[in-house]
């Protein structure tokens, strides 16, 4: 299966199906993991065919958490969809808000004040810290390290959530971004608290890495597991840390340069092997870069309005047209595709969820691995079912 103009695609070896009653080897076992399984990060089901402990076939089944998000958005006003975007990837509501606000701003031609752009960058990087910290904790939890790494991660996450709560009024369902800016102006106290957090986060990462990065059990469980080739990753549309772990340095913050990101020098960490350990490492390094971006943004944030005075929230009727806008969410490229027919509701509203696209190659990564490793591989994909099923 090759596409003209693209390098040939390497497919993982297909399932080796044996005769059902093979007296020497025994039967294949079809196992349904989920939808209520503690390792599947929500209501997600993997139908795994096992030869002994080896995965020979894996079928991801999702849709249990489908909430009709896109259709609801097509029946309501542009503003009314904003709180629903919080509920896509409920760990990263700030970046979801931003991606949606960006789409509507481009569709209706609204400008964003500079202070709001800085605040958006600060919040997006805080979200990245929050998401990657949680992911590391969940990954270790999936690997069997019950409690300690996850609790340390949640201890730090709580500090970021406190910042979100004092700014937006809610810990997770922030509903903070608006078309043409943000809803509330961060006070000097808030910015000082964010600076303190950014300064202290490096110390936490050092502690966390001392706990995990050199840990022999973690290395044995993750190195060489769930390899993904760069070619397959690119052709499947995988984005975010998953793609960068395979060695492809693709980051929408660099490629598109949306917002005020071009003003901040930062590096894009890439992996070399594309295995679970690289995915973990890329996220840790990304967090360190995020701290650098936070420092610069908090230092340079200008005074001024947070919401454009000419911005319009209610009764928005953009000119007929379509727009696709994307940002680099913590999980990958999150995009919103909107078509307007000039009415008060979008004619078509489509989310490009990074979790769903990254999940499509789960089988390719799991074939030939043991069933216990498939849990770790799923953990390293970093899915949130709210976004996969929408």
């Amino acid at each position: 299966m090759n596409i003209p103009g693209l390098p040939p695609i390497e497919l993982a070896p297909g399932p080796q199906i044996r005769a059902v009653h093979d007296e020497l080897h025994g039967d294949l076992l079809e196992l349904s993991m989920g939808p209520h399984h503690p390792s599947t990060h929500g209501v997600f089901r993997m139908v795994v065919t096992l030869d002994g402990e080896t995965v020979v076939k894996l079928k991801p089944v999702f849709g249990y958490l489908h909430r009709n998000h896109e259709k609801i958005a097509e029946a309501t006003s542009y503003l009314a969809s904003m709180p629903y975007t919080d509920r896509l990837d409920y760990l990263c509501s700030m970046t979801n808000n931003w991606a949606y606000a960006l789409a509507v701003e481009r569709l209706s031609g609204q400008a964003v004040p500079e202070r709001a752009e800085y605040v958006r960058v600060i919040l997006a990087e805080l979200t990245r810290l929050l998401n990657h910290t949680c992911l590391a904790g969940f990954l270790l939890q999936d690997g069997g390290a019950s409690g300690t790494p996850l609790m340390y991660a949640f201890r730090e996450r709580e500090k970021i959530l406190d910042l979100f709560e004092s700014l937006s009024g809610s810990r997770m369902m922030c509903n903070y971004q608006r078309f043409g800016g943000c809803r509330a102006d961060p006070s000097p106290d808030w910015l000082a608290a964010a600076s303190t957090l950014a300064e202290g986060y490096g110390r936490f990462l050092d502690e966390y890495e001392a706990l995990l990065t050199g840990n022999e059990i973690l290395m044995a469980r993750t190195q060489g597991i769930g390899r993904l080739s760069p070619k397959l990753a690119v052709s499947a549309g995988v984005t975010g840390p998953m793609l960068r772990a395979t060695g492809v340095g693709y980051d929408v913050r660099k490629v598109d340069g949306y917002g005020v990101y071009p003003r901040f020098p930062f590096r894009v960490p890439v992996g070399a092997h594309g295995d679970v350990y690289d995915r973990y490492m890329v996220r840790i390094l990304e967090m360190r870069e995020s701290i650098g971006i936070l420092r610069q943004a908090l230092r340079d944030i200008p005074a001024g309005p947070i919401l454009d005075p000419k911005s319009k929230q209610r009764g928005l009727r953009p000119k007929a047209g379509e727009v696709y806008s994307r940002i680099e969410g913590p999980k990958g490229e999150i995009g919103f595709f909107l078509i307007s027919d000039g009415g008060p509701n979008p004619y078509r509203y489509r989310v490009r969820p990074p979790s769903l696209v990254n999940l499509t190659i789960l089988e390719d990564m799991c074939l030939g691995q043991s069933i216990a490793d498939s849990v770790v591989i799923l953990g390293s994909v970093d899915i949130v079912l709210g976004e996969v099923d929408r």
Binding site: A80, S170, A184, E207, G214, Q313
Partner: protein, 215 residues
């Protein structure tokens, strides 16, 4: 050497475990029902209706049943019926009031859009979060009597925002009074070709515009 990483990790957990014995700041958990953290001022969960006085909440609701929040509410959890008669509002003008104002807080998703779109500062976000009810329908569908809370309560939960709102409303009231006085003066004075005083009217319209709530 194999095992160094493990020992390093153990040192980290040991530091965290032993550290909590001599440094109380390391205790990050709060024993909830006995201990409570202070909620940030911006915290929101469900809306309430602001009334001017605590004694007569139904008579002094700021809500004029314009139904903008009902229209804009994303999950459509607000139900309003307009009154047939009019009651004098805080400024003394006769106004329509909500005969029925229900919010189904089982449906409400605490997004604050009703607060943002309200031009009359009549609906604000509450901070009460201990709302367990034994009855799904009676306990979680709040009518206007359950939703009404006095302005003094609003000043208590969101002091900065309430001060802002009070100032804005006071300015609007002053402008309206001035306008009424000017109109009365114009009636008393002999008819002149001079135009009616416009600026106070414009100012009052300005003051009535919705503005983004403070953090």
């Amino acid at each position: 050497m194999l095992g160094i990483g493990l020992l390093q990790g153990l040192a980290v957990t040991a530091r965290n475990f032993l550290g909590s014995f001599h440094d109380p700041k390391r205790f990050v958990t709060v024993q909830y029902p006995e201990e409570r953290t202070r909620l940030p001022e911006a915290y929101r969960n469900f809306p309430f209706l602001v009334s001017e006085s605590a004694e007569d909440p139904m008579g002094t609701l700021r809500c004029v049943a314009c139904q903008i929040c009902e229209k804009e509410c994303p999950p459509q959890c607000i139900y309003i019926e307009k009154s047939r008669d009019k009651k004098p509002d805080a400024g003394g003008r006769p106004q329509i009031y909500p005969a029925v104002f229900d919010i189904d807080i089982a449906v409400c998703m605490s997004c604050q859009i009703c607060v943002e779109v309200c031009p009359f500062d009549a609906i604000k976000m509450d901070q009460v979060f201990e709302l367990a009810a034994t009855d799904r329908f009676g306990g979680l569908v709040l009518d206007r009597h359950a939703l009404a809370k006095p302005n003094s309560y609003f000043q208590q939960v969101h002091p900065a925002e309430a001060a802002d709102v009070d100032e804005r409303l006071a300015a609007a009231r002053r402008a309206a009074e001035e306008k009424a006085r000017a109109a009365a003066a114009a009636k008393l004075a002999p008819p002149r070709p001079a135009p009616a005083p416009k600026p106070p009217a414009a100012q009052s319209a300005e003051a009535q515009k919705p503005s983004p709530p403070a953090a």
